[in-house]
């Protein structure tokens, strides 16, 4: 194994990078909507980039200038609706309270935020109301979020220049994508999909909007019949018990097209709302990513920075690519893995056991 490369960030630069990281994380749905993101002065950044590029060969300069010019165009593009994001209502207050409680039992709060604080309910409402914005938020445009800077092509180190956040730019779905999403949200009948397409796949697709309306009502029906109270008014231990009941076979109806029940939909969308790009409406301040030790999108800096001066790549000491994480190397330079929690360990063991089961089912499938 190779040693850590000698490149070090100065304390000033590190502080700057961290400050910028914080400042560039979008705020959540109900925190001070900022309206339209103001484009940075593209020409200024273009010139700054060109100054660096002037030290490059002419051919390299042309390449770099082309890339920057393209970016400058992107920054002038129209920003889709308001950024971070005024709420487009789908849920009633009661429904939202029920959903918030559900999300918080899926990813519960502890010393790290729970799904509600991370914005999963807002993410789900935003998904269900996508066509109130013409479907523009179904696919974030990119290419960069502005959370990390460009690297300096001469030095092969992080520069002080950050790209505009292109994750808030509009991108309309293609005709087929729009058809797909209208069926997903409103049902295949409302989207106009022909029966000859739907019947062989198991019949009409029920839209997610209807599934959430009905599913949240079902949650309270089961909750009241078991405990006498609606789900949102229960303590967390009782909520866990009701959720377990909702998740048992036969309690909620199965979605013949998607498989699973309403509980599966909420778990999936809660995971999405906690760990997808914040511009989708959840993962507030990217705290979902930070909680699990990921940076999320890493462009344009990435994890290897090519230096024209040295004609080689440099790595980031804080996020090394070819060596172990710094916090798993002890004082003597030896590998010192951090132990998993018993829960994480159990999941690894379960994956191992699960895969090994197949050998019993089909001889030779796993050898």
């Amino acid at each position: 194994m190779r040693k850590l490369l000698p490149l070090k960030l100065s304390p000033e630069l590190r502080a700057q990078v961290e400050a910028r990281l914080d400042a560039r994380l979008p705020s959540g749905a109900d925190e001070a909507p900022s309206g339209v993101v103001a484009p940075e002065p593209a020409l200024h950044r273009l010139l700054a980039h060109a100054r660096d590029a002037a030290r490059l060969s002419r051919r390299q300069f042309l390449g770099a200038a082309a890339a920057v010019a393209a970016l400058a165009v992107a920054t002038h593009a129209r920003v889709a609706g308001a950024a971070f994001w005024p709420r487009t209502r789908f849920f009633t207050d009661v429904e939202l309270a029920t959903l918030e409680a559900l999300c918080d039992r899926i990813i519960p709060p502890d010393h790290d935020p729970g799904a509600r604080e991370l914005g999963a309910p807002a993410y789900i409402e935003r998904l269900l109301t996508s066509f109130d914005r013409g479907g523009a938020g179904l696919y974030l445009r990119g290419p960069y979020s502005g959370r990390l800077p460009f690297s300096d092509p001469w030095l092969g180190a992080p520069s002080a220049r950050y790209p505009q956040n292109g994750f808030v730019l509009s991108m309309r779905p293609s005709r087929l994508q729009e058809l797909y999403w209208r069926a997903e949200l409103y049902g295949s009948a409302a989207a106009g999909l022909p029966a000859e397409l739907e019947t062989p796949q198991g019949g009409p697709l029920v839209g997610l909007r209807e599934i959430y309306r009905q599913g949240l009502a079902d949650v309270d029906t089961v909750s009241v019949s078991t405990t006498g109270l609606p789900f949102r008014q229960l303590g967390t231990a009782q909520q866990d018990a009701v959720l377990k009941k909702l998740d048992s076979p036969g309690v909620l109806s199965r979605d013949v097209r998607r498989g699973g029940t309403f509980v599966d939909r909420v778990i999936q969308h809660t995971l999405e709302g906690c760990f997808s790009a914040p511009e989708y409406g959840g993962n507030r301040r990217a705290r979902g990513w930070r909680m699990i030790g990921l940076e999320g999108d890493s462009q344009p800096l990435g994890y290897s920075m090519f230096s024209l001066r040295d004609d080689r790549y440099h790595e980031r000491p804080d996020q090394p690519m070819s060596t172990p994480n710094p916090d798993e190397i002890d004082a003597n330079g030896n590998l010192a893995p951090k132990p998993l929690t018993p829960d994480g360990d159990a999941i690894q063991q379960a994956i191992f056991s699960f895969a090994s089961i197949f050998e019993d089912i089909v001889e030779g499938s796993c050898a």
Binding site: F306, P324, G344, I347
Partner: protein, 607 residues
């Protein structure tokens, strides 16, 4: 429904209205064909059924694409994948089974630039041996007492092996051309690679940590008395400023995602862009080809559905199929001749000999965090399990239970989880693990995610093994299921052959040994798709329009033209007679370049 794009659905020279060649598909093969044909002076129309992630691709400056580091966009919302609910496929293992709709019958992305843009762009070449595999193995059988190979000798009727109609030496200039055009990084550190006329255009980039750990394990492992020889993996990602594109920054969103900064040498930013800048190319996207209008021996036009849902006709003097093997064959099957036959099918082989590779994946967990989210997915691998002697020209004879045996597997990739919390840790814990062993919700789920139990610890040794061509492995039209265009969907019939299943069982213990020596625990073999009755998910497709000299046993001739149709060509993996055991894209492109240069000669680029 009205077209939802404000653009006109077109790239390139909009004023062209008469075309020498129409290329159907803009991916690895179609991009290469469009490049070589325009370089040879032809006016080319490209039809692409997907949308365009590169607005302005035909402009003077290469634009940044609408690609981004975004798990939701690609892994869950299928930004460039086909939407299988609208365009399903059906699958069965045997002709006697009833085919059922399946989510992913080796679906390949649909967008300008094709599937290569969402691959991590591993581009090893095939071996010299591969182009004459059939005759070489037959000779070996005759010269080696006691040697038996499934699909050969007395068992030959169970498979349909064939030599390629040209040699590695014939194709080598186009391998070199491919590597120059797409910008390939690599090193001469693989003892099993066949000879090359020129060095890789760029040196290898930074190694990924887990790959170095696995390579260290591999160096201590041996295969019947010979130590294994891990090597860097050739890939089309810039490691310098190259051809108007920046160096790769190893962002980690490579396999399964589009490249945000164009450092990935995918067709859109290489061959296709050069074709568009030539002034002799017009590309229409959201344009789904549905039928070739023909008189049985000649194609006069292609009918397609445009982005607004309107059926249109495009004419050209010649037509090139490059829609991927399943879709290229499907287009022939949807294009009857005036007498009601399948176009180009006098051999009866259209859609047959479909090959996918048999992937064998052995995985385990390392105690330290391996941060597979940093880097281009695969930086190292080994080729010992292709089963050849060093030099890549002679099969190695193994001792198999005291008898001589040939075990032609394939290249091995060292890989790891890419650190995707929603699909990997979250998805596996909440949905894939059965019953009480999983973590549907609550603190268990949260802890598994915080630990990165899977995403930060899972490592794999994955072999891309050759699968035997079989007449019974095929694509045809499903008799009852139709897609959103009202067209019959592709029905795939595919089962594994003992040729590859024996190889799989032979190498699994060695794959396990590598991981054990690398320090992994809880090592398991990922269940084999085909043995469980599922379609393979290799996303490698080959065969269906096999090329060969004999019109009775092949669909296309050695120049890539249909034997039966005087102006119809194939320029994708469909023409491959055999699959070899390497990621096929490099060879798809080299073959497409060879065919297209044959249609319109022009000088090859020089380094």
């Amino acid at each position: 429904m009205a077209a939802s794009s404000a653009e006109d659905g077109m790239l390139g020279n909009r004023s062209l209205d008469r075309f020498d060649v129409c290329v159907i598909g803009s991916g690895a093969g179609g991009g290469a064909a469009a490049y070589a044909l325009t370089a040879g002076g032809k006016n080319v129309l490209v039809l692409e059924c997907g949308h365009n992630p590169w607005p302005g691709l035909d402009g003077p400056n290469l634009p940044l694409p609408r690609h981004s580091n975004d798990e939701l966009k690609y892994a869950l919302r299928e930004y460039i994948e086909p939407l299988s609910r609208l365009e399903p496929r059906t699958f069965r293992q045997r002709a006697s089974d009833t085919a059922a709709i399946h989510d992913d019958v080796n679906l390949l992305p649909r967008a300008v630039g094709g599937s290569f843009q969402h691959a991590d762009c591993k581009v090893p070449r095939y071996n010299a041996f591969d182009f004459e595999l059939k005759s070489r193995l037959e000779a070996l059988l005759g010269a080696t007492p006691g040697l038996a190979i499934p699909g050969f000798g007395s068992d030959a009727a169970s498979a349909n092996f064939a030599d390629w109609p040209f040699s590695y030496a014939d194709l080598e200039p186009h391998y070199a051309e491919m590597e120059l055009l797409h910008g390939v990084q690599g090193a001469d550190d693989n003892p099993f690679a066949s000879w090359r006329s020129s060095p890789f255009p760029m040196p290898p980039g930074v190694a990924m940590y887990f790959a170095l750990v696995i390579a260290e394990g591999a160096r201590q492992a041996s295969l019947q008395g010979r130590l294994l020889t891990p090597h860097t993996y050739p890939g089309a990602h810039n490691t310098k400023f190259y051809d108007e594109r920046p160096p790769c920054v190893d962002c980690g969103w490579c396999s399964g995602f589009g490249c945000p900064n164009n450092s990935k040498g995918s067709p859109a930013v290489t061959t296709l862009r050069k074709a568009l800048l030539s002034g002799r190319c017009q590309l229409r996207y959201n344009a789904k080809a549905v039928r070739l209008l023909n008189d049985g021996g000649h194609v006069s036009a292609v009918e397609y559905v445009d982005g607004a849902g309107v059926n249109r006709i495009a004419t050209a003097d010649a037509f090139v199929l490059a829609a991927s093997p399943i879709e290229s064959a499907r287009l022939c099957l949807m294009s009857p001749t005036p007498s009601g036959e399948t176009l180009g099918d006098s051999s009866g082989q259209v859609g047959r000999n479909l090959m996918f590779h048999l992937q064998t994946n052995v995985s385990g967990f390392l105690p330290q965090r391996v941060h597979g989210q940093r880097g281009r997915a695969v930086t190292h691998g080994l080729t010992d399990f292709r089963g050849l002697e060093p030099g890549g020209d002679v099969p190695r004879i193994f001792d198999v239970n005291g008898a001589p045996g040939v075990r032609l597997g394939g290249i091995v990739e060292f890989s790891a989880s890419q650190g995707l919390p929603i699909t990997d840790d979250g998805g596996v814990a909440a949905f894939q693990l059965p019953g009480k062993s999983g973590a549907r919700f609550g603190t268990k789920l949260k802890n598994a995610l915080r630990d990165g139990a899977l995403t930060q610890h899972l490592v794999s040794v994955l072999m891309q093994a050759e699968d035997a061509p079989q007449l019974t492995n095929r694509v045809d039209l499903d008799p009852s299921v139709r897609d959103v265009f009202g067209l019959p969907v592709a029905r795939v019939t595919y089962a594994s052959h003992p040729f590859e299943l024996g190889v799989r069982n032979f190498y699994i213990p060695y794959q396990r040994q590598i991981l054990e020596l690398a320090g992994a625990t809880r090592i398991f073999t990922v269940p084999c798709d085909t043995l469980l009755g599922d379609p393979p998910t290799s996303h490698h497709e080959m065969g269906t329009l096999r090329m060969g000299p004999d019109a009775a046993t092949s669909v296309t001739n050695p120049e890539g033209r249909f034997h039966d149709v005087d102006n119809l060509y194939a320029c994708d993996g469909s023409v491959f007679p055999t699959a070899s055991g390497y990621n096929p894209t490099c060879t798809v492109i080299a073959v497409a370049l060879k065919i297209a240069h044959g249609m319109a000669p022009s000088p090859l680029p020089v380094a």
